[in-house]
């Protein structure tokens, strides 16, 4: 009786483990696949023979990238964008989330502002007015357009606001009794306690800025100013053959350059893949506490 139960339990646990491991491998697939293609020779990749293992192993693609100035220029722009974007988002969101985490009794316009934020998150005027606005604000062709152009990250504000709202009130109250003003409470009481949620929004912000490619295509007048994803996309671009002209014909004949594109994509994925495991413990905590009471 007992053994039978432990048999089924063991069977269950074994199966369970197997499924989990398969799921895990499934998640590694894209990175592995991209890496395989990038290390294969052009002909094998073009013939679709590469899947889980490189064919005709070569470092050629990576050597080509090393000689590509624009790749590094764009890489640097992406880094700048991520750093500036994260720094600004950090302070603006923190400053904004704190007052909004108060009840409307303590801070009257709180609810109105919250609804305004939600409204701004849902509605937009379309690409053309946005572009014109960016232009009149002098955001064309410079890094600030990329950093600020996406607008206030409302979702992240709500996340931090919720986290602060769910923090124990006692610490704040005792600080107040000690005579601390709002600024000191924010920076010496709330800030240290909200490290997880701040780390979480930093992860979101970094991922967003690193992967976003569309804005630069609109805002930048030259490929010299493109961040990495925009640069990669324009060389790995899918072409619309309905607008076929001689230019497109030429570019299409270059599309078989899969291996080089794969190498570029792989390098572009790398920074995020390297840093996220280290931020993991923070964003796990932050997401939990920011959205739902623990």
């Amino acid at each position: 009786m007992v053994t039978e139960r432990s048999m089924t339990a063991r069977l269950f646990n074994g199966l369970n483990l197997l499924v989990l491991i398969v799921l895990m491998l499934l998640c590694l697939l894209p990175v592995w696949y991209t890496l395989s293609v990038s290390l294969s020779d052009k002909a094998s990749a073009a013939a679709g023979q590469v899947f889980l293992w490189p064919r005709g192993f070569t470092w050629g693609s990576y050597e080509t990238i090393m000689k590509d100035d624009q790749f590094f220029r764009s890489f640097w722009i992406s880094i700048q964008r991520v750093v500036c974007g994260a720094a600004i988002a950090f302070f603006v969101i923190l400053l904004m989330a704190y007052p909004l985490s108060k009840t409307s009794k303590d801070f009257k316009p709180r609810n109105i502002i919250m609804w305004l934020l939600v409204f701004a998150m849902l509605f937009n005027g379309g690409l053309v007015p946005w572009y014109l606005t960016m232009q009149s604000l002098g955001m064309i062709n410079n890094i600030w357009g990329l950093v600020l152009g996406g607008g206030l990250p409302v979702f992240n504000v709500i996340l931090v606001m919720n986290y602060l709202r769910n923090m124990p009130k006692e610490m704040e109250e005792s600080a107040m009794i000690d005579g601390a003003g709002p600024w000191r409470i924010l920076f010496s009481v709330c800030l240290p306690l909200s490290v997880p949620v701040l780390a979480t929004i930093m992860v979101f912000t970094i991922v967003y800025h690193w992967n976003e490619f569309f804005q630069a295509l609109v805002l930048m007048n030259k490929a010299d100013h493109y961040p990495l994803q925009s640069y990669i996309r324009q060389v790995a671009v899918v072409i619309d053959p309905t607008k076929m002209d001689e230019e497109t014909v030429k570019r299409m004949s270059e599309l078989s350059n899969q291996t080089l594109n794969a190498a570029k994509i792989f390098i572009s994925m790398l920074p995020l893949l390297v840093i996220y495991p280290f931020l993991q413990k923070y964003f796990v905590k932050g997401i939990t506490l920011g959205s739902v009471k623990g």
Binding site: F107, P129, P182
Partner: protein, 296 residues
């Protein structure tokens, strides 16, 4: 109790955020006027002639607009369900594994796809599900006919939903992981004393404890019912799957920027925003009523 004197400092704290919001989110919103105008770029938005509700009338005449709204809701709803169910089950499964190192490793790895952009993932999907791709090789190995996955309007939504769930299930499971860890271990101990099996413990203790979390998440995601994922679909679709795969956002993009039907495109986009606002209000109310929880 927060002293009254704090209020003015609160206003100051809000300034940077509100300025950012006003300049980059709110100001460009005058563009929604296009929905009520016959936009002429030569005249600009302000000076273009008003046409009242003409764009909306045309929108309701078009079969396409109904279709894209339907597709959007179907795909978004399926994603919503998948993105709750799969992470839920996954978290339960992982919870049964007692080896800490293994749990940590699996968790870390399944977060990975979340960090990739759709441009990359969509490209991969097209490769893997192509006619002579690995999936079809397996099918033909089993003696089945190969399937044109991306050419079949019946299958396409499933691919969209499936790949989205694949990409996000790990990340979405985070909340469930933490809900699971917050279950009082004494309950398990008591159950073990009563001789409850692993299975019984799962059914009687674990699942009931995290159901509320799932319900709350479901309510919260209601606001996303019209967001079927532009980046993803834009990189995956083709004309043969328009009937099930074309969504509001892709349609608006094509109509507006490629075909210069600004008025129509803005009208459709505006309708989407309004529905979104209504839904968020509903989910706000529901969460507050039934869970006493304020979303924001």
């Amino acid at each position: 109790m927060i002293p009254k004197s704090f209020s003015k400092h609160f206003y100051i704290m809000l300034i940077p955020g509100l300025v950012w919001l006003a300049l980059f989110n709110l100001y460009p919103m005058y563009g929604v006027l296009t929905a009520f105008k016959e936009f002429n770029p030569g005249l600009g938005i302000w000076k273009s002639p008003w046409v009242g509700m003409e764009n909306f009338q045309y929108m309701f005449e078009l079969d396409d607009s109904k279709l894209v709204f339907r597709n959007t809701v179907v795909i978004a709803f399926a994603k919503m369900v998948g993105n709750l169910l799969v992470p839920f089950v996954f978290a339960l499964m992982l919870n049964e594994v007692k080896n800490r190192l293994l749990t940590r490793t699996v968790q870390t790895v399944v977060y990975l796809p979340h960090f990739l952009s759709w441009v990359i993932v969509a490209g991969m999907m097209l490769d893997i599900f192509s006619y002579s791709g690995p999936v079809n090789q397996v099918l033909s190995g089993l003696g089945l006919d190969p399937i044109m996955f991306f050419g079949n309007a019946h299958i396409f939504p499933a691919l969209v939903v499936g790949s989205d769930v694949w990409k996000e299930f790990g990340f979405n499971a985070i909340i469930f992981f933490s809900a699971l860890t917050s279950i009082n271990p004494e309950m398990y101990e008591a159950a073990a004393v009563d001789g409850a099996s692993q299975w019984q413990r799962l059914i009687k203790i674990t699942i009931p404890s995290i159901i509320p979390v799932a319900a709350l998440l479901a309510t919260l995601s209601l606001g996303n019912i019209l967001n079927a994922g532009f980046d993803q679909i834009f990189n995956m679709y083709n004309p043969s799957v328009y009937s099930t795969g074309d969504i509001v956002d892709t349609w608006v993009y094509r109509a507006g920027l490629i075909d210069f039907q600004y008025g129509l495109a803005t009208a459709v986009g505006l309708l989407k925003s309004v529905v979104g606002l209504v839904l968020i209000t509903i989910s706000y109310t529901l969460a507050y009523r039934f869970a006493n929880y304020r979303i924001f």
